[in-house]
């Protein structure tokens, strides 16, 4: 996935002179997760900028650059550190087109690694997507595999609206089924690791049915796509698994059509449960599929606590937690 993301930026930097990249340690060093490795050497210090450690300043500068015709891709080193930039994102980035009636707009892409599973503790593990999905004017994206990662990032950079692009860091180097005791598997073992070298896009606003099935619908995204697949497999369920991919704008038709058909649904994400994106997914599905539902829609999520260092795997919604919900939804009647 790291190479796929790097390739997306490499291609856009090469194709479009207005694309610039900025962030902490992203230039000479290539980023703490190496996602921007080699780009400064290739495109120079004026297009791949190391910045001061000021997330608020990074976003403000990116907005100003965008207003002057550039297409900045800003990296926030960890999603847990995006809050100092929250005002510039919520009060400015999200609303410049609106308040200027379209005269000004800021096509900024904000890339940031999210999620746990790397022993990062409470400040290197957060999944704050809901805090952006609630804000009108932002597109919110999270890929679950290398192919989508590259295609969605290219779409995000080419999009004229601001995009908050979350990268589940636990699956940077390979898919993860939720069992930390198994040896790590590389992406090469996964079909979606086939990434074309050149330019291609995966459209924003389209969910993907990663597995068709009839028993129930699992709506999820990011790392949890893989955990959900494993959990359903483990129970021998013929689950339809939908990777949301773009949270805003949400592809509610793909989701609701599936649930209307299966009549059963579990929503899965890693973020804390209360007022998380799962609540929106559950509420929307319930409104539109109520008469088809044969069981309550259940949510599987992280607990409503900070992400604790020593209890990472008790916090993480692993296969056991997902399986319990799947069983409950299948048995309900």
């Amino acid at each position: 996935m790291i190479q796929a993301l790097n390739s997306a930026m490499d291609i856009k930097l090469g194709q479009d002179p207005s694309v610039v990249i900025l962030g902490e340690d992203i230039g000479y060093f290539g980023g703490v997760f190496r996602v921007t490795d080699g780009l400064q050497r290739k495109y120079g210090e004026s297009r791949v900028l190391d910045t001061p450690i000021a997330e608020g300043g990074i976003l403000a500068a990116a907005i100003g650059m965008a207003v002057n015709g550039l297409r900045p891709v800003a990296e926030i080193q960890f999603a847990d550190y995006i809050y100092p930039a929250y005002d510039q994102i919520v009060s400015e980035l999200a609303r410049i087109r609106y308040r200027s009636a379209g005269e000004f707009y800021a096509p900024v892409t904000v890339r940031t690694p999210c999620g746990g599973g790397i022993r990062g503790g409470q400040t290197h593990s957060q999944s704050p997507e809901a805090l952006f999905a609630h804000v009108a004017g932002l597109k919110v994206v999270m890929p679950s595999n290398p192919y989508d990662a590259k295609g969605l990032l290219i779409s995000a950079i080419e999009d004229d609206d601001p995009v908050i692009y979350f990268e589940p860091k636990r699956i940077y180097n390979g898919p993860f089924d939720g069992d930390p005791h198994k040896p790590a598997v590389p992406w090469s073992t996964h079909p979606k690791s086939e990434v074309p070298d050149g330019h291609y896009t995966v459209p924003l606003g389209k969910a993907e049915i990663v597995r068709a099935g009839d028993d129930l619908t699992i709506v999820t995204y990011g790392t949890m796509v893989h955990v959900s697949e494993a959990a359903a497999r483990g129970l021998g369920l013929d689950a339809e698994i939908i990777d949301v991919r773009t949270m805003v704008p949400l592809d509610s038709d793909t989701i609701c059509n599936s649930v209307a058909r299966t009549g059963r649904c579990v929503v899965v994400h890693e973020a804390t449960r209360f007022a998380g994106l799962g609540a929106e997914l559950s509420a929307t599905i319930q409104e539109r599929c109520f008469w088809n539902l044969q069981a309550p829609i259940l949510r599987v999520a992280g607990w409503d606590t900070p992400y604790p260092h020593a209890f990472e795997w008790e916090y993480f919604p692993g296969q056991a937690r997902v399986a319990k919900a799947l069983k409950a939804v299948m048995e309900a009647s």
Binding site: A62, M65, E92, A101, F104, G137
Partner: protein, 413 residues
Amino acid sequence: MVAQSRLHVPKTPARPGEAPDFSYLKLLPAGKIARPEPGAPALEIRHLSEGLVRVLDEEHRAVGPWNPQLDAETLQAALRHMLLTRVFDDRMQRIQRSGKISFYMRSFGEEAVSVAMAMALRPSDMLFPSYRNQGLYVVRGRPILDLMCQLLSNTRDMCKGRQLPVMYHWRDGHIFSISGNLATQFPQAVGWAMAAAIKGQDAIAVSWLGEGSSAEADFHHALLFASVYKAPVILCVVNNQWAISTFQGHAGGERQTFAARGPGYGIAGVRVDGNDFLAVHAVTQWAAERARAGCGPTLIEHVTYRAAAHSTSDDPARYRPKEDYQRFPLGDPVDRLKNHLITVGKWSEERHKALTAELEDHIAASWKEAVRYGTLTDPPRLDPGLMFEDVFKEMPEHLRRQEAELREEMGGK
């Protein structure tokens, strides 16, 4: 607990019932401060950040090394711009009470800041204003009618009804959209200037905020990024002494000038008499030349006074003395330029009266036309469906659904 408290609390020189007190203001006579080369190293010209650049002296003459030597036509144009701004402000203030517009903010007493700077800059320079920079639109020639339509949120509103009055924008005039959130524009201007440098443009960026707003994080981000990347930008703190009810001491003005923050970050700082058109013009030229030459950013502190209420929702009688503006040591920017022109024989009371009358007529006529396009209370009215546009470039499904719901709610209108 209060008894034993040792907390220092900034002093406010005078409150209602007390006599205005400006003894705290560090002043200098006009012409007293040297004018270094615009390329001078920031740390060698710190005196500019703690002194006060002034050109107009007590006898209304232009004196000293900062005198921009502008011709009479230019100064008459400047007077016209400042006066138009003021007449416009006055009228809108009065009209707000009628309920036809919901809110207004005047720049009364600060007209020289916007007018002199806009005149000293190039039309291609990008401006990131606060809500108290009306003069910028006037100088750059935006029809007052357009501004009025914005204030009215009417069918000709440039903001399509989405913004509070005064929150203008003007892409073709190179003036950025005003935010209701203080200070956010400051570091954005720096980013714009960084892009200008990256693209090799000649244009520079200029931004303004109030001394109270300089407390926000964005002020720090702006100075820091401007310093690190030597961005071609001019950053202005308009120190009009008040932030709503709060005196500038609460923003740090009790210990040090605001311009002195610049040298702290290794960038040039200049403190200027903000009510002296000639001084502001000269300092702007100096800073613009510095920025364009790649010698880096400048932080300008304009010492001025908020002569009016903060906004139409505010009543300064609650927190500051009456007659304060009349006692402000730097006087009134319109009067001072007018007196200078009269002193040099290029203006007269008669001409001034005539100009004022002409501008008042212009404003009255513009208003007459503006209300024809609707007011907040009277038709014609913008289509509420506009509320759902420009949230995104293309309207996504969920907003199309919501627009349909609204139309149904409005009875299929």
